[in-house]
């Protein structure tokens, strides 16, 4: 499910390819226009864009296998780390831009059916007998890994850091999952269109989309007492921009995400801005939550991936016989 949209500028315009994950399509369409305008005002140069969207891991592999992305804007640092490992991106990429190179953030929330008939308020409620939980498969979906880690972090917090109990909690949680879709959009469809399950674990921006663009009167968002700060990071693909001579504009493109205009657009597309002023403006939209980070609670993505999601990891153990 890769969509490419090429906006044709006049001849001689620089063209950037932004390889991203699924839910950012509309956001970057708008942002690209804003940046092109800004760049032309600043330098007089024209810049046009191509966008490619798909599952985050799949997009990462495409870049590893030779898709000539100037910039990657993916769902997990882990997927960009994988590109770094083959040498296309230089080490330390995550420190090159502010805020872990994540210009906007989000979190994991619950989307429940209108009126919240099962009374779901927090992670504990997901384990009630008659509750069915919809979440994609963490083995195939980057988004689903955040869901899983959020649940784990909650269980850890409520059991004084007891990993055994956290494991039991998460294991129990997944017995409430009737379908493991392979991607986040698939799970949203299962919950929203097919009417399966009582609660969807979703990125906050996806939940807003389901609410505002699909059907306002059918769902509501529930924010749990504790969740995870999802940081979808961005990076310049060094090898490609050096080859194509697009480094300057590619770097400016990512930096401009931190500008007020970039932040406004992110907020408009339901991502949490990191600029305090813009944050303040949108504070009604984003409830304050107790948010943990992958770095603090799990020691970074590499470690989280190793422990939980690689073959034979804890997620596999949950399902082993």
């Amino acid at each position: 499910m890769v969509g490419c949209s090429a906006s044709q500028g006049e001849g001689g315009a620089t063209q950037l390819l932004n390889v991203s994950y699924d839910p950012t399509r509309e956001f970057y369409q708008e942002y690209n226009q804003a940046f092109a305008k800004h760049w032309q005002a600043e330098t007089g140069e024209k810049v046009t864009f191509r966008q490619s969207h798909g599952g985050s891991g799949k997009q990462g592999r495409a870049v590893i296998d030779g898709l000539d992305a100037d910039v990657v804007t993916l769902a997990l640092g882990y997927d960009i780390d994988a590109i770094q490992e083959v040498g296309k991106i230089e080490e330390g990429w995550q420190n090159r831009l502010e805020h872990n190179s994540s210009p906007y953030t989000s979190t994991i929330v619950f989307l429940v059916r209108k009126g919240n008939p099962k009374g779901i308020k927090d992670w504990d409620d997901l384990l009630k007998d008659d509750v069915e939980v919809i979440t994609p498969n963490p083995k195939t979906s980057g988004g689903a890994r955040w869901n899983y880690l959020a649940a784990w972090a909650y269980a850890l917090e409520n059991n004084n850091g007891d990993e055994k109990k956290a494991k039991a909690f998460v294991k129990e949680l997944y017995t409430h999952v009737p379908v493991l879709d392979s991607g986040a959009r698939g799970s949203t469809t299962t919950f929203v269109e097919r009417g399966i399950g009582d609660v969807l674990l979703a990125w906050e921006n996806e939940a807003f989309l389901a609410l505002n663009e699909l059907d306002k009167d059918k769902f509501e968002i529930v924010a749990p007492s504790l969740s995870i700060l999802t940081e979808p990071p961005v990076a310049v693909v060094d090898q490609v921009v050096d080859k194509k001579g697009t480094r300057k504009v590619a770097e400016a493109y990512l930096e401009y995400l931190y500008s007020e205009e970039g932040q406004e657009l992110a907020a408009k597309h339901y991502y949490r801005p990191i600029n305090p002023d813009v944050q303040k403006k949108y504070e009604d939209q984003f409830p304050e939550l107790n948010l943990i980070t992958v770095d603090d609670t799990f020691g970074g993505w590499q470690k989280a991936q190793q422990t939980h999601f690689s073959d034979g990891g804890i997620f596999d153990q949950i399902y082993s016989k």
Binding site: K58, A82, T140, P178, V179, L180, D181
Partner: protein
């Protein structure tokens, strides 16, 4: 039949055409497949064995094999029926129906998967009639079988159809005028003629189903040990950037398909030989 295998054709050009054939088959089939083999070698034997015999992976082979077998079996019965109706009868809309048979070929399989899933979920058009009886289709092996049946249908119809067309109606008439019942005519006169085509159709549908991903992944529910097909396991390994592990599972699937195809080819040759001998006697 001549015993010489390399009979000289009246048409010139064996050299260049054979050369082209080798090149084409290598580029399109052999080189990509050997890439899988080479990736697999990167693992080493014991790692390879661990990957491909992991219980969850074995469960996925079993599921893929059984649902593919079931789907191909269903298609043999109903595909032959469809081919029969299309060849033997004339009715309005026949051309249209004939065209529809190919639709599963042309349709992106993901679309088929999404469509079938929305039909068969408990609140879908068909699913809501089955739900009261406690029959779940979507997100169960039944759903997988339904998807695989859908994508496999054209293989059986399109292999059986031409054979049926060339079948002499007089032979049937002779059989029945000699006192054969319709069942005898079918089983002793028609079926033996059709069998090689039916078997080919079965195998094509079966091997296609074995590797099917797009249509199944939406309807299967992807639950480990229950509805997780082998191609999904490959995807999960790729998602972890585990190219070797993915290639290892792919290699096993490749081997399975290859063994099946060889067996079937052998069966067909054997069958043809027997039949031509039998014909020679009479």
């Amino acid at each position: 039949m001549s015993k010489r295998r390399w009979r000289v054709s009246p048409l010139p050009g064996f050299g260049p055409t054979m050369g082209f054939t080798l090149l084409y088959v290598s580029l399109i089939v052999l080189i990509p497949l050997s890439a899988i083999f080479i990736k697999t070698i990167g693992l080493g034997w014991s790692d390879f064995w661990n990957v491909v015999t992991e219980p969850r992976v074995v469960a996925s082979y079993r599921l893929s094999l059984l649902t593919s077998l079931a789907a191909a079996g269903i298609n043999v019965v109903f595909g032959v029926l469809v081919a029969w109706v299309l060849v033997r009868y004339h009715f309005p809309g026949k051309k249209l129906m004939d065209g529809l048979v190919d639709l599963p070929f042309a349709l992106p399989t993901a679309i088929a998967g999404i469509a079938l899933t929305s039909l068969y979920t408990p609140n879908g058009w068909l699913g809501k009639w089955l739900d009261p009886f406690g029959i779940d289709v979507a997100y169960t092996p039944i759903g997988i079988t339904v998807a695989l049946t859908f994508i496999g249908l054209p293989f059986v119809v399109r292999t059986v159809q031409p054979v049926l067309q060339t079948l002499n109606k007089e032979v049937e008439e002779a059989a029945s005028s000699l006192g054969a019942t319709p069942a005898q005519t079918f089983f002793r006169v028609i079926l033996p003629e059709l069998l090689p085509a039916v078997v080919t159709g079965f195998v094509l549908a079966f091997s296609r189903a074995l590797g099917e991903y797009g249509s199944v992944v939406f309807i299967s529910g992807n639950m480990p040990f229950k509805t997780e097909i082998a191609p999904l396991i490959i995807m999960t390994k790729l998602e972890q950037f585990d190219y070797e592990g993915a290639a290892a599972v792919a290699f096993v699937m490749l081997l399975l398909s290859f063994i099946l195809l060889i067996l079937i080819n052998g069966f067909q040759t054997h069958w043809e030989n027997r039949r031509s001998k039998w014909r020679g006697v009479h």
